[in-house]
């Protein structure tokens, strides 16, 4: 009985979510219109028409090599993202609970954020050569601070009253963390994770392009060398599509499951 109602509830939420895609489509259509206007003003050589770009992207996908390159870049971005999510969360939570660690890590963070990602790519290229490791390390260094700060914020801004409540009812430190704090930390952590995932893809492509390590970045470099604007735009569209697919398959469902109560709190008609 409760299983059935839980399934129905999820189906209803999925339906609402799919229905809300119309708003997203409207936004995309607006971008398409601007793009088309730019194409008509500047011509094919500067800005290929959106439909031609889509056709080029479809052709790339059909030729077969594009799927390989997409998979390679996505795997690299996900590996880097996974590493930075793990390390950032672990260290962020630890620093949130230990003020001394937080004070120590603040200047390190400022330093890391101050170094441009491109410098890390150069260093990683020298250290590891044009390999997966170069891309992963660059992502790790450039995206971890965001996750770290998100985790720290989650720990620091948690409601300590709930900790006291759990303690009164007999929860030890571990179960206080698992049952009460982890949920509050995740609320701050998820926006940071989404941001980190986006920058993981961007940094992966940039590192591939500069390190000549293949993948979408490599294909972009070739398109630039040939001044093939349609192919370059097609690769960009494919990369964006891959990022969106990963975000909506990997992160959004988990977040929706954890934040069901927020939707319940929203007044009727303002459900997003």
């Amino acid at each position: 009985m409760s299983l059935l109602s839980a399934c129905l509830d999820r189906l209803a939420r999925l339906g609402r979510f799919l229905w809300s895609a119309w708003a997203g489509l409207a936004g995309l259509a607006l971008i398409g219109a601007l793009w088309q206007a730019g194409h008509e003003a500047y011509g094919d050589f500067i800005l290929t028409a959106p439909l031609d770009t889509l056709a080029a992207a479809a052709r790339l996908m059909h030729e077969g090599r594009a799927q390989e390159l997409l998979a390679l870049t996505t795997a690299r971005a996900l590996a880097g993202f996974g590493l930075c999510a793990l390390i950032g969360t672990l260290f962020g939570v630890a620093a949130g609970y230990s003020p001394a660690t937080l004070r120590l890590s603040r200047p390190i963070l400022t330093l890391l954020l101050g170094v441009p990602p491109i410098a890390w790519i150069v260093l990683a290229m020298i250290w590891f050569g044009p390999s997966d490791l170069t891309v992963a390390v660059t992502i790790l260094i450039s995206a971890t601070p965001v996750v770290f700060v998100g985790a720290v914020e989650g720990v620091v801004t948690r409601d300590r009253g709930l900790d006291d409540m759990a303690q009164v009812f007999g929860a030890g430190p571990l179960r206080r963390f698992l049952f009460v704090s982890a949920r509050q930390i995740s609320a701050q952590l998820f926006p940071a994770l989404i941001l980190a995932l986006g920058s993981a893809f961007k940094v992966a492509i940039m590192a591939e392009l500069l390190a000549n390590a293949g993948g979408i970045g490599g294909a972009l470099a070739r398109a630039r060398a040939m001044l093939d604007i349609a192919e370059a735009l097609a690769w960009v569209s494919l990369a964006v599509a891959a990022l969106i697919a990963v975000e909506y398959i990997l992160i959004r469902p988990v977040r929706a499951e954890l934040e069901r109560w927020r939707e319940a709190a929203a007044p009727w008609g303002v459900k997003r």
Binding site: G161, V168, F169, F179, W261, A264
Partner: protein, 249 residues
């Protein structure tokens, strides 16, 4: 034998002494109201007795099996439904899942929550309903001692009265003892067997009064008259409404 004994408890926040030499006991099935002016350290004392705050000095002897607490704010977890919040102590005590649902419904009913409210999130409940859920959460493990830390301060007068009746009924049927912190004298008289007055500076218990009768049997006129008598003629309550909010920690 007392269920709870505090012996010469003292505490300080950042070097400023807030409590000193507090000695009190709560007997089996006895409801003790602790009143005192704002900032006299009543809440701190309850938190010390419940083990949330480590006292700087003194001894605490707890002879009860299980305690619960109702806080000034409901302190419900916003991500869990009312049923999830009420069942939280059961989850902590690793009660079997099958049993939980019935026990939760039972505790909710005793606190005046209907079965259809159990699936709602705290943000969908009104202030009074949230505090009812907090009371149900305290009742759900059938504790023999409950701490009430000014639980009804934020509620309006009518709601407050109803909540007090709820606690009186629950105490009579579930037979728990309680330490009830409040600064509302009327509430203390209505709800308790014994009223303790905390010294305005937190230096010991200034004295105690035993309102005639037992909770639930006193009529409203007598309660009101007793309150007037305490406030106008009893020197023990002379400083009860003194407020120095700057002193609050």
């Amino acid at each position: 034998m007392s269920l709870l004994e505090l012996n010469r408890i003292g505490h300080a926040f950042f070097g400023r002494t807030v409590l000193e030499g507090i000695t009190l006991g709560v007997a089996r099935q006895e409801i003790v109201a602790l009143v005192g002016p704002s900032g006299s350290g009543k809440s701190t004392l309850a938190h010390i007795a419940a083990g949330l705050v480590e006292p700087r000095e003194g001894r605490i002897a707890r002879h009860y099996l299980r305690h619960a607490m109702v806080f000034q704010e409901p302190r419900l977890m916003p991500w869990a439904t009312a049923a999830g919040n009420i069942g939280f102590p059961l989850r902590l005590s690793r009660a079997p899942r099958r049993m939980r649902r019935r026990v939760i419904a039972d505790a909710a009913l005793r606190a005046g929550l209907l079965p259809e409210d159990l699936g709602k999130y705290p943000s969908e409940l009104s202030g009074g309903m949230r505090q009812r859920a907090a009371i149900a959460r305290a009742l759900v493990t059938d504790p023999d001692f409950i701490y009430f830390d000014e639980p009804f301060t934020a509620l309006d007068v009518a709601l407050k009265r109803r909540m007090q009746d709820l606690v009186i009924e629950a105490a009579a049927s579930a037979r728990f003892a309680a330490l009830f912190i409040t600064h509302d004298l009327l509430e203390a008289i209505r709800i308790s067997h014994r009223i303790l007055v905390l010294d305005a500076g937190g230096r010991g218990i200034a004295g105690e009064r035993l309102p005639p009768g037992s909770p639930g049997t006193r009529d409203e006129a007598a309660i009101f008259a007793l309150r007037q008598h305490y406030l106008t003629a009893d020197p023990l309550f002379a400083h009860i409404h003194d407020i120095d909010e700057r002193l609050r920690p």
